[in-house]
């Protein structure tokens, strides 16, 4: 820490975190200016905000107590949640399986350029769009329902897992690979014995993270027709049944938290 007692110039004070450099000051100023500019452009007035707060209070009042008592609505909710679970399980399973070869093909230290370019292009394509948008496209392609949601989340899974998997492969020690190659092993054996052991742990991390992410997204794809509880939620909003909305939200949060626990267990078991 700078010695503040002796004659401390601006540089010492900056080093001590007591003062800001001119670029930092200008940076903060620009930030504040931007906020003022943007809020005015978007027409955020204080009045709207106050009205909003009143609405919020009203909304929260109507959400409680959450509506769990009606059996038919509970059934509907249960079926929606189950469908979301199915979407999450299937898209994760197929997404993980597909990401393995795609990731390997995209690794520039293992594959020649004419293989990695298309693979990396595919991965980039999968990542470019929000899963919801991909779901919309699939809804058009395969109709409403779980299939569209599953396909959309498979695409999202590949975009995430394959990318990180390829990056992990590119970071491995090639010396270990070289030694296995020198013994005359074929490509698959080299992959299994020299490449995979080095990236296994990270792959499992990515896969469990995506499982969790798919579970969250599976509750949402229904909003655009991709099956699952999202559709139920959307129609509840549309009918202003806020107590039912609250019940559904609670159920979703509970399912997601259980899913997180399971992910952690899976990770601990495989690592």
């Amino acid at each position: 820490m700078a010695n503040v007692s002796s004659a401390s110039g601006p540089r010492d004070l900056r080093a001590a975190g007591l003062s800001m450099s001119w670029t930092a000051r200008i940076g903060w100023l620009l930030l504040v200016a931007y906020v003022l500019y943007a809020t005015s452009i978007l027409d955020f007035s204080f009045d709207r905000f106050v009205v909003g707060l009143e609405n919020a209070a009203d909304l929260i009042g109507r959400m409680f107590p959450p509506l769990f008592s009606r059996a038919d609505l509970r059934d509907l909710m249960y079926r929606g949640l189950m469908e979301s679970l199915q979407i999450a399980v299937l898209s994760s399973a197929f997404g993980i399986i597909l990401s393995l070869p795609v990731g390997v093909l995209a690794a520039r230290n293992l594959m020649p350029g004419w293989v990695t370019w298309p693979a990396r292009g595919l991965i980039m394509l999968c990542r470019s769009f929000h899963p919801i948008i991909v779901a919309i496209l699939f809804v058009k392609g395969v109709g409403f329902g779980a299939l569209a949601g599953i396909l959309a989340l498979i695409v999202a899974s590949i975009g995430f897992i394959a990318k990180l998997f390829a990056e992990a492969i590119e970071e491995i020690s090639l010396k270990q690979v070289e030694a296995v190659r020198a013994s005359g092993a074929n490509f698959m054996n080299v992959l299994i014995f020299a490449v995979l052991p080095q990236v296994n742990a990270r792959f499992i991390g990515f896969a469990t993270y995506q499982l969790d992410s798919n579970l969250r997204n599976s509750t949402m794809v229904g909003i655009v027709g991709g099956g699952g509880i999202g559709g139920t939620l959307l129609s509840a909003f549309g009918r202003f049944d806020y107590d039912y909305v609250c019940a559904i939200l609670i159920a979703i949060i509970a399912m997601i938290m259980v899913g997180e626990l399971i992910s952690q267990r899976l990770r601990a078991l495989f690592l």
């Binding site: 020690s173 010396k175 270990q176 070289e178 030694a179 296995v180 190659r181 020198a182 013994s183 005359g184 092993a185 074929n186 698959m188 054996n189 080299v190 299994i192 014995f193 020299a194 052991p197 080095q198 296994n200």
Partner: protein
């Protein structure tokens, strides 16, 4: 430059009966800048040949050209009836199975166990499903245990490779190479990462096992005293060419000066 010592006639062998014959090998990583400038060398059966020379002179390149970790620009490498320099794909893999290699930095798969690392030597002949499930044949596992005992690592089979010391890892490396039941053993600076005492132990182990199996061993090293002590034949390289080839006793100080020091050899 001319060869400094005429090799003993017992050392030379005609290409047909030599275990391995390198002819006019040229390796250039960049066009026009050859690292190996026409190497010709014949190794008879069951001998230990040490290649010495300063860094960057191509010792490693020469060794790695033999099992094609490096691709030669021109020349041929005759081994077991084939020209290694021209092989590709499945044929190359088949040829590599007969050549075992020990590396300077051991190159073990660190996350795998000692046993798995030794079994790496059999990956060339084990089908993929067995490798995936780690269901290696019992004979392979038995041989692996044997080899571990021979390199002095009895009882280490289930340890993870990265839990071992440098010397122990190199022993696993030797066991791995021998697991292939090779017709030729290569060692690329096997003791450069080890302390002096361990270096001697490893050299003793390696040369002893190679001789016991009648497998020729070509070692690449920069410790001249070790070379003198363990090799039957010393090949001195400088500037991409062989400038000494003979038994250890024929290696005199002026040869060493010409290999390692003096302005003429530093290009």
């Amino acid at each position: 430059m001319t060869v400094m010592a005429v090799p003993d006639s017992a050392m030379t062998a005609s290409p047909k009966s030599a275990a391995i014959a390198v002819q006019d090998l040229v390796v250039a990583y960049q066009p026009g800048k050859p690292v190996l400038k026409g190497i010709s060398l014949e190794i008879a059966d069951s001998s230990v040949t040490a290649i010495i020379g300063p860094s960057g002179t191509g010792k490693s390149t020469l060794i790695r050209s033999i099992n094609r970790l490096v691709t030669p620009t021109s020349g041929s490498i005759l081994f077991d009836g084939q020209d290694l320099a021209k092989l590709r794909g499945a044929e190359l893999r088949a040829a590599r199975r007969k050549i075992g290699m020990v590396f300077q930095e051991y190159n073990l798969v660190e996350r795998l166990s000692v046993m798995e690392n030794v079994l790496t030597g059999r990956l060339g002949v084990t089908p993929v499903w067995r490798v995936w499930l780690r269901k290696f044949p019992r004979e392979d596992i038995a041989r692996a245990f044997d080899l571990l005992a021979q390199v002095g690592l009895d009882g280490y089979a289930t340890q993870r490779a990265d839990a071992l010391s440098g010397g122990q890892r190199q022993r696993v490396g030797i066991a791995r190479a021998l697991m292939q039941d090779p017709r030729l053993l290569l060692a690329d600076e096997p003791t450069s990462s080890l302390d002096p005492k361990t270096s001697v132990e490893i050299m003793e182990l390696m040369t002893g096992l190679a001789r016991a199996r009648s497998v020729p061993l070509i070692v690449n090293m920069h410790q001249v005293d070790l070379a003198r002590r363990f090799a039957d034949r010393i090949v001195g390289m400088a500037d991409g060419q062989i400038i000494f080839d003979g038994p250890p006793d024929a290696l005199a100080t002026e040869h060493l000066q010409q290999i390692y020091g003096g302005e003429g050899w530093l290009t």
